[in-house]
Symmetry: C2
Subunit: 247 residues, 2 copies
């Protein structure tokens, strides 16, 4: 059986000891191993011209708090170095021309793939979110409004929906800040429930990059910062995508 996952991934990178057992990582030359600049990653990830639908745009379901903050950060893209990340239907659309390393490729007979956080396309019913990224400060902010299809306890967002939103914001930030590609661990402490339809603001930081891993932190709270919904730390593994060979 071919293991399709991290163990295959780390074999490719010759880091067999990454998971389990004593971790004795070979010292890599990080400049050559992860040489893509944030600028080049961002320009590939956020194409200026595309026919792809961007789901991270305001719609009638957004609450006033979400619209306000969206406008505020959109202004900051002009002056303060923030970038609004587009959000396409699948990660395949973001990384066109690239692919996972060979050991992780999967044959596919499915045509309709969706990134989990865009699985529900009816406005306002599922995930509404937009991520802004700050390249030089290696941080992101995610405006997240859970809809009624993301319910856990009656009237509140499922803990898993927030965990997913944190993982997804980590993921985009980790990739753009340093080619972080796979979640190694998530450690979440829930503090308060998010009422369905209201806004949670996720602040994500890359704390450090060390031994091919990115160490991330996230706090999710209300706009006025009076209610903390959850805190999370996460570790991501750096791994370079490969150029896709022409079909």
């Amino acid at each position: 059986m071919i293991r399709r996952g991290f163990q295959a991934a780390v074999r490719l990178g010759q880091h067999r000891a990454l998971f389990g057992g004593p971790q004795v990582l070979p010292r890599l030359n990080l400049t050559s191993a992860f040489g893509s600049s944030t600028d080049s990653l961002v320009s590939r990830f956020c194409p200026e011209k595309t026919d792809l639908k961007d789901y991270a745009l305001p719609n009638a379901s957004w609450c006033p708090d979400m619209l306000d903050l969206y406008q505020e950060f959109l202004e900051k893209t002009k002056t303060d170095g923030w970038i609004k990340l587009p959000s396409f239907k699948s990660n395949r659309d973001h990384i066109q021309g690239l692919k996972l390393p060979s050991g992780l490729a999967v044959a596919s007979d499915k045509s309709d793939w969706r990134i989990f956080t865009r699985c529900i396309q009816v406005e306002g019913q599922g995930y509404e979110y937009v991520i802004f990224f700050h390249p030089s400060e290696k941080k992101s902010i995610c405006l997240f409004q859970p809809g009624p299809y993301l319910e856990g306890a009656p009237g509140f967002a499922h803990g898993g929906s927030l965990a997913t939103m944190m993982d997804e914001t980590f993921s985009k930030t980790a990739y753009l800040a340093g080619e972080g590609l796979f979640t190694v661990s998530l450690n979440i402490r829930f503090k308060n429930l998010i009422p369905v339809g209201s806004l949670a603001v996720l602040n994500v930081h890359v704390e450090k990059i060390e031994d091919q891993k990115l160490y991330m932190s996230c706090i999710a709270q209300s706009r006025d910062q009076q209610t903390v919904y959850a805190k999370c730390s996460g570790i991501f593994l750096q791994l370079q995508l490969e150029e896709e060979s022409p079909q």
Copy 2:
């Protein structure tokens, strides 16, 4: 502003110190505080007669491994004390006649609520899963097959979709085993990616119940146990639902 969440919940239970700061919990009489037997919780949770649709039944999208194991555990419900849990569209359907404690009630103008793990109703595209629970051993098994709308990296399930499935299996197990109602923390270590359309088997155990908290563990792996997808520990807070007053 009214905080709707754990802090309201713990105020109700007079456990202000549960989150943050030194944790000095008052000693409760757990027998009286959490007196509902697992039998009575199960019989309310798994009504023998209902018109509600049970989503945890085989359909044409289930892979052979999932069908096999489903049949195997269905047999065990007759001989080994396992119970197949039904899975309704919303947690509201499971806890009919009960409600969250008053401080957690939310006004609602929405009519179409869905539990996050049943947010996609097209067979095979989103979550396919079934949970079996063993009351006397306080453990569960969840058969989980992620569809193409749960994608993260191309061809593989999003880490958040597995985190959600673990949280949801914890949640149902914690409630039935000891009225565990809210996720306090999740600590997940990811080992291998789950290819979309394949089966992951989640084994969940209640490790201990102490100071109104349930300590849970989960391992998610392939059917042959040769590939570990992730390991997780979780803590749930005990809290009793209230009888709903007649409308």
